[in-house]
């Protein structure tokens, strides 16, 4: 009698402490549908799909919300989303298949396969290896060169050609810095070695053998696809449907579209060390190579606070790695206009989770992933939605403060040095290409590629704020530089750099 009542007290205390009594024999969290639906609503995500793989079985695959705001078409586990940078692991695996076939090695010099490949530093050009392309240690700045491909008219070759003008920000292989263009280079290496396009290689060697029948690698493929979730953006706190961004020019870094159901095949082949349904699709050593740390990353203070059990953070090949609750967690996020996704694997638990969403920005995938992870790992439950709402609130505060600081720094009562027409012209940057400024309808209009068309409003002195007509592209600051002869010699675009004015009739680049 005494004994059983004491046990009841202990049970009660454990429940109070949030200790999962099934710790060690993890399971899908109860009432998961309701949890996800609440998170979706809280973050105003239009539609999302979640799938969970455990012990080589799909134990959960569901859609929530709708494919397009204002329309009835529901998201289900077959709905297509852009998976963004979750493409990178496919690119690494694509290279790995060639390595497995003995057609190249991870340690091959990139220039041995792509003789025209060139980076800013000649040493790095001749020394950089294929493996370096896949683990963000090139020494080029994080996200450096992204405006070369994002919303740009350049093709893959041109994007890759221009990267030679991107100056390194850290000593070669000394730091982690996320680099999309290096994954494009890995895709080009794949094409050079395989003799077929990266897209075809991924489709024929990975997507088809895995039975990822709805998945594709190109913006062009969307036109004929059905059950496609549309991207949505939050503009001035209002959710609106937007077009898919075409990023075929950097495809190996992020262009795959897939469904939650298809992605369970990918999770299973990675968890299966390269095999699925008894068939080998990827060499075991390739999967192993993808999932070992190649580049170490600092555990930043925010992560240290949110995840006290995390001591290590690293990048494998196309995937992030860290320890969480005493396990190694393999994870990557993907994001492109209106689309955010997260892929998570815990190999020792044979657990995989994919979350695909069609609204940006949002951080809703985080609470969903951690809720499921904690349940399977037998960790105490936490109020992850509250944690991430608080983080979002702080992020919003910070950007509001930054906007306010910018407004405050605006000098009053200044006017442009020259008549508006004097600013018109063509400006060129070796990395980012051309910008034109034209005087139209009494104002100045900026154009860069076909996507960027923006109206300039005077800010102060010779600085203008440019507001793009495509609301997804937002706004920016442009400063014109006058030379000694009192003419505009260059334009500085915030975040990009200095574009030199191309002389009238000059060839430029």
């Amino acid at each position: 009698m005494m004994k059983s009542s004491r046990m009841l007290v202990a049970l009660f205390l454990m429940l109070l402490a949030g200790v999962d009594l099934l710790a060690g024999q993890g399971r899908l969290p109860p009432d998961l549908d309701r949890y996800i639906e609440e998170v979706r609503a809280e973050w105003r995500v239009v539609g999302l799909a979640v799938a969970v793989v455990k012990d080589d079985s799909v134990v959960y695959a569901r859609g929530f919300g709708v494919r397009r705001l204002g329309e009835a078409g529901p998201v289900d586990e077959h709905s297509l989303f852009a998976i963004g940078s979750n493409t990178k692991a496919f690119t690494a695996a694509g290279v790995g298949i060639l390595v497995g076939e003995g057609r190249m090695a991870w340690g091959d010099r990139v220039v041995d396969h792509l003789p025209v490949f060139s980076l800013f530093d000649p040493y790095v050009t001749r020394e950089i290896r294929v493996r370096d392309l896949l683990c963000h240690r090139s020494g080029l700045p994080a996200y450096g060169g992204d405006p070369v491909w994002y919303a740009s008219d350049f093709g893959r070759d041109e994007v890759l050609r221009r990267v030679r003008y991107l100056e390194p920000s850290s000593s070669f292989r000394s730091q982690f810095a996320y680099q999309n263009i290096m994954f494009l280079a890995a895709g080009e290496v794949t094409e050079a070695v395989a003799g077929v396009s990266w897209d075809e290689w991924i489709a024929t060697r990975i997507l088809r053998p895995l039975g990822m029948t709805r998945s594709n690698t190109s913006h062009d493929d969307l036109a004929t696809a059905s059950n496609v979730a549309m991207p949505h953006a939050m503009v001035n706190d209002e959710v609106m449907a937007i077009p898919y961004r075409d990023i075929d020019n950097v495809a190996p870094a992020g262009s795959i579209h897939s469904s939650a159901q298809d992605m369970t095949r990918w999770l299973r082949v990675l968890l299966g060390e390269g095999t699925i349904d008894g068939r080998r699709v990827l060499p075991e050593v390739v999967v192993a190579e993808m999932l070992v740390p190649h580049t170490l990353r600092p555990v930043d203070t925010l992560s240290a606070r949110l995840f006290p059990s995390t001591h290590f953070s690293a990048y494998g090949l196309g995937v992030g790695l860290r320890d969480y609750g005493g396990r190694m967690v393999v994870a990557h996020t993907g994001g492109i206009d209106g689309m955010l996704s997260m892929v998570t694997l815990v190999p020792e638990e044979e657990l995989g989770i994919v979350v695909l969403t069609n609204t940006s920005p949002n951080t809703a995938y985080n609470p969903i992933v951690y809720h499921i992870l904690d349940s399977y790992l037998g960790l105490p439950a936490q109020d992850w939605p509250a944690v991430y709402q608080e983080l979002d609130r702080r992020t919003a505060e910070q950007s509001a403060a930054a906007r306010e600081r910018q407004e405050r720094s605006r000098m009053q009562d200044t006017s442009p040095s020259l008549a508006l027409g004097a600013y018109a012209g063509t400006y060129d940057h070796p990395l980012f290409g051309r910008v034109t400024i034209a005087e139209e309808g009494g104002g100045l209009v900026l154009r860069r590629h076909s996507a960027y068309v923006g109206d300039l409003a005077h800010w102060h002195f010779d600085t203008f704020r440019v507001t793009y007509r495509d609301p997804v592209l937002g706004s920016g600051m442009v400063t014109f530089r006058l030379n000694a002869s009192g003419r505009v010699g260059a334009l500085e675009a915030a975040g990009l750099g200095v574009f030199d004015r191309v002389p009238e009739g000059g060839a430029g680049r």
């Binding site: 493996r131 070669f172 000394s174 070992v292 740390p293 190649h294 170490l296 290590f312 320890d323 609750g325």
Partner: protein, 511 residues
């Protein structure tokens, strides 16, 4: 009482109580585990200390300082700590960072203008952090210092001749030589020897009175252990190897009491008895992973819950049952050791032993103590480690048998033996001298290594070193088109030495 002999009086009170605590607390059963381990492993002596929550909770010696004697190991017994020295070098560097004298990412050549490696770009770009992180991509090159008479300056100079074996910063590759260079850098910046810096900035403030940096200092510590190796199936005491020229990578001799102070200082984030000796930030930097290390399957078995293995600066950092483990081992002829810190648990273990080859008992003890405090279900770690060592020994024996089986019978050297004599040279490793003595070829490399070369097959000879614990190895003499010996190569050990001249007969004598 024997175990406490030689202990400073001031510690007696605390330690006298400790063994009793060990019988009751987490360390209950430790003594019998270690004593059984000494027997099972044939390790003559071992000293250990355990630190928990900034207190030395246990320190004890087991076995003897030298086999065949009854000189007991006690907590004051001095041993070599070998590569555990590297953390002292890294900490001293952090102290220089605090003083604004260097930055971790300074170019080495800014402080050591003569420093060179195989490639000019790498020479210009290599940083202090790189020196301490084992990812330079050059050959390990231990024969620059091991058994050579080269000074630290000369070794640092010779680094330029080491061959690249991996891309720069791409892979983990252990390098003692880079720590020698780091020590020379510390010396160049401070105007003191590395030894003085370690003594004045670390040993003295921490009260590490039994710790020293030179082999000659050992004479001051009569209570010292002797190294032991198995020679011809017989365990015997051998001399201390001088590591004076490799000092910043491994020369410190110390005892578990001093090392417990060092561990407490590390766990306290750089504070000793209320005094900050290094900034928290600089010390944390030395514990921050810099280079990933691939974990072989065999290591997984012995490191439960390992997912990440890395080298920081002077420390190896990995996860152990969900915690961060900051540690280093040490090893040289006849001695093996370990320090392990579990910062989240305020726990440290130091194990010093006096047996070399085939001894990983120190890590069985490490795991036993860590598991005791983590309340983890622990296998018989001694048996587990012993099984892995036995597998390794079986593999080595099989490899040896394979080499033997590949020996071609009935061959003879191409040339008369005296034609193999001469001076052979390599830009990194200096001279090898081959002479004919009593009808046998004798190979000398540097001032200390001497071995007799017995014919193996064709123009390959097997060198059996005078120090029997240095493995025999094959040397192949290569003939040129004129039928003369042009090179001698020692695969896997040294590069090819080129024959550069005859050994000239000594003409005349002292006048």
């Amino acid at each position: 009482m024997g175990a406490l002999r030689g202990l400073p009086i001031i510690l007696m009170g605390a330690l006298a109580a400790a063994p009793a605590a060990a019988q009751e607390g987490p360390l209950r059963g430790l003594d019998s585990f270690v004593e059984r381990g000494l027997r099972d492993w044939g390790v003559p002596g071992l000293a250990l200390a355990v630190v928990k929550d900034d207190s030395l909770v246990y320190a004890r010696g087991y076995g003897v300082r030298e086999i065949g004697t009854d000189q007991r190991v006690d907590p004051s017994t001095v041993f070599g700590i070998m590569s555990m020295t590297k953390a002292f070098t890294a900490t001293a560097m952090g102290m220089l960072v605090d003083r604004g004298m260097v930055s971790w990412d300074d170019r080495v050549t800014d402080h050591l203008p003569g420093f060179r490696v195989y490639d000019d770009w790498v020479t210009r770009n290599v940083t202090i952090r790189d020196l301490l992180s084992h990812h330079m991509g050059v050959e390990r090159g231990d024969f620059l210092w091991y058994g050579t008479g080269y000074t630290r300056d000369e070794i640092t100079h010779q680094i330029r001749y080491l061959e690249p074996v991996a891309p720069f910063r791409a892979e983990y590759g252990y390098s003692n030589n880079m720590y020698i260079a780091a020590g020379q850098l510390i010396s160049a910046v401070t105007g003191m020897t590395w030894d003085e810096v370690i003594r004045r900035w670390i040993f003295e403030p921490l009260g590490m009175g039994s710790s020293s940096t030179l082999v000659g200092d050992l004479a001051r510590f009569p209570n010292r252990s002797r190294p032991h190796e198995e020679l011809g199936g017989l365990l015997q005491a051998i001399p201390y190897r001088s590591l004076d020229n490799e000092a910043p990578g491994g020369s410190i001799n110390s005892n578990v009491l001093d090392m417990a102070r060092w561990a407490r200082f590390q766990l306290a984030g750089g504070v000793w008895e209320g005094q900050r000796l290094i900034s928290e930030r600089s010390l944390a930097e030395t514990h921050t992973p810099q280079t990933p290390i691939r974990v072989p399957e065999s290591a997984r078995r012995l490191n439960p819950g390992i997912h990440f293995s890395t080298y920081a600066m002077g420390w190896q950092v990995q996860d152990y049952r969900g915690r961060k483990l900051v540690m280093h081992s040490g090893g040289i002829d006849g001695q093996r050791s370990r320090i392990a810190l579990l910062p989240e648990e305020g726990l440290a273990v130091i194990v010093l032993t006096n047996r070399g080859n085939g001894n990983t008992l120190f890590d069985a003890v490490r795991n036993w103590v860590l598991d005791a405090y983590l309340e983890a279900e622990s296998p018989d770690w001694s048996a587990e480690f012993l099984a892995v060592i036995r597998e390794e020994q079986a593999r080595a024996a099989a490899e040896q048998a394979r080499v033997e089986s590949e020996r071609v019978q009935g061959t003879r050297p191409s040339l008369p033996l005296e034609r193999y004599t001469g001076i052979y040279a390599d830009s990194a490793y200096g001279q090898a001298r081959v002479t004919l003595e009593d009808g046998r070829l004798v190979v000398r490399i540097g001032p200390e290594l001497r071995g007799v070369a017995e014919h193996w097959h064709f123009d390959t000879f097997r060198v059996v070193w005078d120090y029997a614990y240095d493995q025999p190895l094959l040397v192949t003499f290569e003939l040129n088109a004129r039928g003369e010996v042009a090179r001698a190569s020692f695969p896997g050990w040294w590069p090819s030495f080129t024959r550069v001249g005859d050994i000239l007969p000594v003409v005349g004598g002292p006048g």
